[in-house]
């Protein structure tokens, strides 16, 4: 078999995108922050990954990054899944000088698919979401033009009706992720497929949240210190996922023992279920802190 020739490093300009593409993204980002929750249209470029694999988030991150940035990429809380690891490698390839990290506290820009890190993000950090479907009204209105009018007038009556129908049929709102959330009292956004657990983190955060939908060509934002209210009825309050076991006890992470995190359910080969933190960095840091604590040292 013929040996494969080693590839040369890619000779792209910094950030892969051309400067005009970055400027268009930057103008869209400025308007997205100025109009919280509004989906700003932009000319989503062809990227070297397929649409639906995070091209929206990728383009925002490339428009943001500079040589002094530290970037982290997570996919469902994990830094090592195929999507996250490949996007991180891509940033290293096309943004020379940018530092890669898996530590939330070290990152200046974090690109995420479907989670918000457990640790509260600081004012100097930006979280970039990969968004598959940006418009929460798509479930009640097929016409995009009409949806834009409804958003502009903050007319969400049909969305409320949909939630009410859920109540009538199932006794609770059945949306598990992509929970419609009202930003700064006007626009309702689709916060991307984050679990309900993460929705309250959008409210009055210290950091800036940016959302990019590459296939749908939309960018929107939730600025810091901005209200983010999940839609709910006064007599049926919004609630997050419940991790209590059959004895009424809150489940703990099998690895680090944390009891205040969003948990993934894992099924072993012998069909035994276990629960682990979804946010791997948080889990690892908690584990380190536990192992270094004086009580565990003396126990050892």
């Amino acid at each position: 078999m013929r040996a494969r020739r080693k590839r040369r490093p890619a000779s792209y300009g910094f950030g892969f995108l051309d400067e005009n593409a970055k400027k268009e993204l930057r103008r869209a980002l400025m308007k997205a922050v100025a109009i919280p929750g509004y989906q700003v249209p932009y000319a989503s470029r062809e990227m070297p990954i397929a649409r639906g694999f995070g091209t929206g988030g990728l383009q925002i991150t490339l428009a943001l990054l500079g040589e002094d940035d530290t970037v982290k990429v997570i996919d469902q809380g994990s830094d090592e899944s195929v999507n996250a690891a490949n996007l991180r490698k891509f940033f290293a390839l096309v943004c020379l000088g940018v530092t890669e990290t898996t530590r939330t506290t070290d990152a200046t820009v974090i690109q995420t698919r479907h989670r918000i890190p457990e640790r509260r993000l600081r004012a100097d950090q930006i979280l970039v979401f990969q968004v598959p479907y940006p418009d929460p009204l798509v479930v009640v209105e097929a016409n995009a033009g009409k949806r834009r009018e409804m958003h502009g007038a903050a007319n969400y009556a049909r969305l409320w009706t949909k939630l009410y129908e859920d109540m009538v049929t199932f006794d609770e709102i059945t949306i598990s992720h992509r929970y419609p959330t009202r930003i700064a009292g006007h626009y309702v956004i689709d916060p991307s497929p984050i679990p309900r657990w993460d929705v309250p983190k959008l409210h009055m955060a210290d950091c800036l949240y940016l959302f990019g939908a590459g296939r749908e060509k939309r960018i929107y934002a939730v600025p810091p210190h901005t209200t983010a209210q999940p839609l709910s009825f006064s007599d049926v309050p919004f609630r997050v996922e419940d991790f209590t076991d059959e004895h009424g006890k809150r489940r703990a992470c099998a690895r680090c023992g944390a009891t205040g995190t969003f948990l993934d359910e894992l099924l072993a080969a012998d069909s035994v279920k276990s629960y682990h933190c979804s946010d791997i960095d948080f889990c690892t840091e908690t584990l380190k802190a536990t192992q270094c604590a004086p009580s565990s040292k003396s126990a050892a």
Binding site: E19, P36, A63, G152, Y187, P223, P224, H225
Partner: protein, 193 residues
């Protein structure tokens, strides 16, 4: 003989990235003052803002003829009058012209509302002061607008009355910039002594 084109600092991509991040941070934290001087090589802040955000796809209205021919060449943007311009540059320490009516966008495309860059002598000098609240501001915040003419704040109130339509202000002195997006609610306190 070969000649080389010396590209001014503010038009170099790495500096534009840094300027953009400062502007994004300023927009996300209305009223916070961003110092641009480390990336401008003494170019005025308003020109650095335009350089970071504009290219051939946008239009600029230069109301007080502050842009020189060389600036237009590097910016690549088309000239426009205020009614259709995406970006408007004007002196902020004078009152706006009575007929000034920037584009506010519409309900389905509020992003078409103009970005107005106001140039004043000094941002942090005692002068106009306002109470601001809204997205990006924890509670309320007193913002010093230095030598900005109060009429701009009065006119802004009309322009942003029908949110999400409106304009976004970037107020610059020589080396600093402060943002007042349309989402910021302002209560004017008048000029201090």
């Amino acid at each position: 003989m070969a000649t080389t084109l010396e590209i001014p600092t503010i038009y170099r991509p790495n500096n534009q990235q840094r300027l953009f991040r400062l502007l994004l941070d300023a927009m996300a934290h209305p009223g916070s003052v961003a110092a641009l001087s480390a990336w401008t090589d003494e170019a005025p802040a308003y020109l650095a803002v335009l350089a970071a955000l504009c290219d051939g796809a946008v239009t600029i209205a230069d109301l007080d003829a502050m842009l020189e021919d060389a600036d237009w060449r590097f910016l690549e943007a088309a000239r426009a009058d205020f009614a259709g311009a995406r970006f408007i540059v004007a002196r902020g320490d004078r009152s706006p012209a009575a007929g000034l009516a920037p584009t506010l966008g519409d309900l389905t495309a509020p992003e078409m509302g103009a970005t107005i860059i106001l140039v004043i002598a000094e941002l942090v000098r005692p002068g106009l002061s306002v109470q601001a609240s809204g997205p990006g501001i924890k509670g309320t915040r007193e913002i010093s607008l230095g030598t900005l003419d109060q009429e701009w704040i009065t006119r802004r109130a009309d322009w942003v009355r029908f949110f999400p339509m409106g304009v976004d202000l970037l107020i610059c002195d020589r080396a600093r910039v402060l943002a007042l997006p349309r989402s910021t609610r302002i209560k004017s306190e008048g000029a201090a002594s």
